[in-house]
Symmetry: C2
Subunit: 386 residues, 2 copies
């Protein structure tokens, strides 16, 4: 096991009815900005629950954070934060709203120029201060509710970049599984696939003798495989919703990745597909992961074999045959959830692969647990998924 440092002070309030406890977590003296997305919170009753819990509070609202939150929109929210002297940000929505709010929280206390510097690779800036924020999660998927990471897109340059800091960990996150009841199929599928791939990126590398981390990761994978189809079939299965929601949080609150190598190539490549074609984040992961598994089968051999055996019961055949089967079962799971896994489904052709290849070559991008995935390997991975 590698050395590690881990601290996760996010307070989780989990279960039905927990939104009503919002006022226990926020000082009545604070000026609050509620940040939300496209307005689904008005239809599913979450907005009404939040407003009721915050009766008597000084509340301003900002809506319209996009599914891939943009720098441009976040900067508009920042204007409101400054104009209204906001003390506390309350993100109400899915991972995109939460990520956008993290960027706004950091940008609000950033004093060295354009907050884009927080994200841009050339001038990466360490965020040490941010406005305090809380979240009411309405879409299990990204794990953003219990970590300090955010991904932001810039429309003008077709870029999708991330930053991370303990300063933007939510003070609290409310996870009410009943918010899942009104989600469309596609968002449920995206959430399950996103969480699944988060686990895979921290698990499917090479062994470092960390059996507990492995088993916790496998526990999340098995739970998502069992509960994902249940919640897709019956949106009001409370236990399936709860298990899906808790699995998505545990998939990316940092715990299973402590003391082990991590990959994240699937995310790095997937972000480019979103940037160029607007494909849903989770759907890009379902495309790219099988390609990473196939092209990187030698480096990942031991862990893919363990994954095949413990998750899918694949014990027969040569290592290569078992790896083929493990990839096939993974693809089948994504497709069963209604998530396409081929670039062709989206009309993405070799010309996009060339664009990504060139961008990675220019940036000297190196991905994967051993920094061996350069622009050429990236081409091979994407070509495998045409």
């Amino acid at each position: 096991m590698y050395n590690f440092e881990y601290k996760n002070p996010v307070k989780i309030l989990f279960g039905k009815g927990q939104i009503s406890k919002l006022n226990n977590e926020i000082s009545p003296d604070w000026k609050i900005l509620i940040i939300y997305g496209g307005g689904s919170i008005f239809k599913n009753g979450v907005y009404a629950q939040v407003k009721k819990a915050l009766e008597g509070y000084q509340v301003t609202e900002f809506g319209g954070i996009e599914p891939n939150p943009t720098y441009e929109t976040c900067m508009k929210a920042l204007d409101v934060v400054k104009k209204e002297n906001i003390d506390f940000l309350l993100a109400v929505g899915g991972g995109s709203v939460l990520d956008g709010t993290k960027f706004i929280a950091a940008a609000a206390l950033y004093e060295n120029g354009d907050p884009w510097q927080i994200l841009s690779a050339e001038e990466e800036v360490r965020v040490t201060r941010a406005l305090p924020m809380g979240t009411v999660l309405t879409l299990p998927a990204t794990g953003s509710e219990m970590n300090g990471n955010a991904v932001i897109s810039r429309t003008s340059t077709q870029e999708k970049l991330s930053f991370g800091s303990p300063a933007v960990m939510p003070v609290f996150s409310i996870l009410d599984p009943e918010t899942v009841y009104s989600l469309p199929d596609r968002q449920v599928a995206n959430g399950v696939v996103d969480a699944f791939v988060h686990v895979m990126e921290q698990y499917l590398t090479f062994p470092v003798n960390a059996p507990l981390q492995d088993r916790m990761a496998e526990g999340i994978l098995l739970t998502l495989i069992e509960e994902g189809p249940k919640i897709l079939k019956n949106r009001k299965d409370y236990n399936a919703a709860a298990n899906f929601m808790w699995s998505a949080t545990m998939a990316l609150n940092g715990l299973i990745g402590q003391g082990v190598p991590q990959d994240w190539a699937t995310h790095g490549i997937g972000h480019e597909l979103t940037a160029f074609h607007g494909i849903d984040h989770a759907r890009t992961l379902a495309i790219v992961l099988p390609g990473v598994m196939n092209v990187r089968r030698k480096v990942k051999e031991k862990k893919i074999l363990q994954y095949g055996e413990r998750i899918w019961g694949i014990c027969e055949g040569t290592p290569d045959e078992r790896i083929d089967k493990a990839i096939a079962r993974t693809v089948e799971f994504f497709e069963t959830m209604g998530t396409p896994t081929r670039l062709s489904y989206y009309g993405v052709t070799d010309s996009t692969i060339s664009k990504i290849e060139n961008r990675f070559a220019l940036r000297n991008t190196l991905l994967g647990e051993q920094n061996e995935i350069d622009h050429r390997v990236t081409r091979a991975i994407l070509a495998d998924r045409l």
Copy 2:
């Protein structure tokens, strides 16, 4: 799954060499009291590492916290805290030193009379303030390094009582697996058994459809079963030490117990055996747990069968036969670790069972996940272990 609230802000610094980072975690302006136990830290080099890391700091020391930390000794430490105007407590040792330090931390800011009130059931007091504390763990076992619980004994009344508060969660805990190298067999065995039973107390109850919590619990059990004998055989197996240490922390940092029923009858009964006979805490658990499993087999049936199948591969036979086998394998594991599981080994007879029965009857003690273990059931459990 049940509703839950969870927050664990303890910062973990895990791995070899991490003690040297102590000075990053403690303000140089603070007056520090180092609290330790019987002096093993002088032999294993931990004291020297701590002192080196704290060069230039204002440090006072207090040694002699017992294996079952007593109120009487903690009150002596409290005198030092007050006399020296201590700002920060640094516990260096095993779970007993950590538990004692938590009590001292709470007692230091307790203003309503005798700090014994923090522990005594009649006048249980909610602890909301405590001196800040950190820990350097030298014995994986209790999980005290990442929770807000402590167990304290009172010599004069032969009582062993506990308290819990977020206020006594350590600010940080340093977990260096190399501290395991110098532990005697008995302490390694105790640590493995203690951690194992902590998991069982949160797992072996009744199903509430919380598959991820189950799998995380099972992951810890399997890891302890694999790594326990390894570290017992070769004390300098770093990976086995690291996996044992991380498993013990994860067993009782609260995470696996979220959203599920919890038992703790084994601990409640075990504490009495320590109070009356001074038997090591972990050894009392190894005695009592098989009795709880046997006597409570109906209430726990579904989970014992799941435990038998997933942990020991027991799939054949009637439910009762499978439960018998699961209990037998559990006993065998404890005995393999060198931990006796019968009261007779310690010369404990029916007269002690009567004393415990009478004490529980007087106190109206009700234990277990459904509060159904009264003094009569307690007698049956202990009689099963003579």
